[in-house]
């Protein structure tokens, strides 16, 4: 293939953890979630170490964590057609 196999993380130090988590998630999504199994413990350990890494990286990149974490979809912030 003439292009990268995986997307990079915001910070290169999280790439490995991100790829491990994404791999687990994609398997879980296809083989469990879409088949009706909503137990998401399968990738929980990958998720938590990856989250520690990415949250730290976001702080280092001066990303407003609060603003990033606000939900818009399904809230009164969600824009409506023709608004």
């Amino acid at each position: 293939m003439d292009h990268r196999e995986h997307m990079n993380s915001l910070n290169d130090t999280c790439n490995e953890l991100k790829n491990q988590y994404d791999k687990c998630f994609n398997t879980w999504f296809s083989t469990k979630f879409l088949k009706g199994d909503t137990n998401d413990s399968m990738c929980a350990s990958f998720y938590s170490v990856y989250q520690q890494c990415i949250k730290k990286a976001m702080k280092e990149h001066n990303i407003e964590l609060h603003d990033a974490q606000i939900n818009h979809l399904e809230t009164d912030k969600e824009k409506m057609p023709q608004s």
Partner: protein, 236 residues
Amino acid sequence: MVKYYETSTIFQFNWEQVAQGFWRRYPNPHSSHVISEDTISREIKDGKLYSKRLLTKTNRVPKWGEKFIKHNNVKIIEESIVDPKEKTLTTYTRNLGYTKVMSVVEKVIYKASDENPQWTIAKRSAWIESSVFGFSRAIQAFGLERFKKNCIKMSNGFNYVLAHMFPLTAQMMNPSLSQMGFADKAGEPMIRLSHAAEDLQHSFQDKAEKMKDAAKKATDLAKQKAGSIQTVYASD
């Protein structure tokens, strides 16, 4: 003032395939502007999967816009909800920061197509807004044009990824589309065009028609001249 824009795209893959492809749509040969992608929250509520991803993309700004936007990278928050029972995937993306200069919000609902349940329709809505005094209209117009171009890139890239993930489905599709997935023919016209793509195509067609007309006129004129020269010669 907000510019509102709507468009639909058909993917010749079923909803389950599109939902799986959604998480893997980057990288692809049309996504060189996407620099990073991270999941920053994920949970299951009422049997639905709620995710939030942070994407960073390069942001090409026209010369006149450089005084408003200095940083090259734009940060995007993508919220999504997958409802496996209703078979819908809803995504909602917004840029983080610079929202006064230009805010682009996009909502996409992916679900089975009414015309073919084995296909998926993506209904896309976009809101483009700017509050820069004196420049908001220019910025909005620029934002909309760029958005339309990105829609084409996005569906070409998504199709590429889907064709690689599901080669058997891709083989049954329109042959030229499945080929596109395997031999990256970037920028080639798609079989199923989004409205945005169609709009652009029409404008190209218009231009082509005008060019043809102009060429025809020029040829006619040349013929006339040649004719008159011939007549002159003939009369000699």
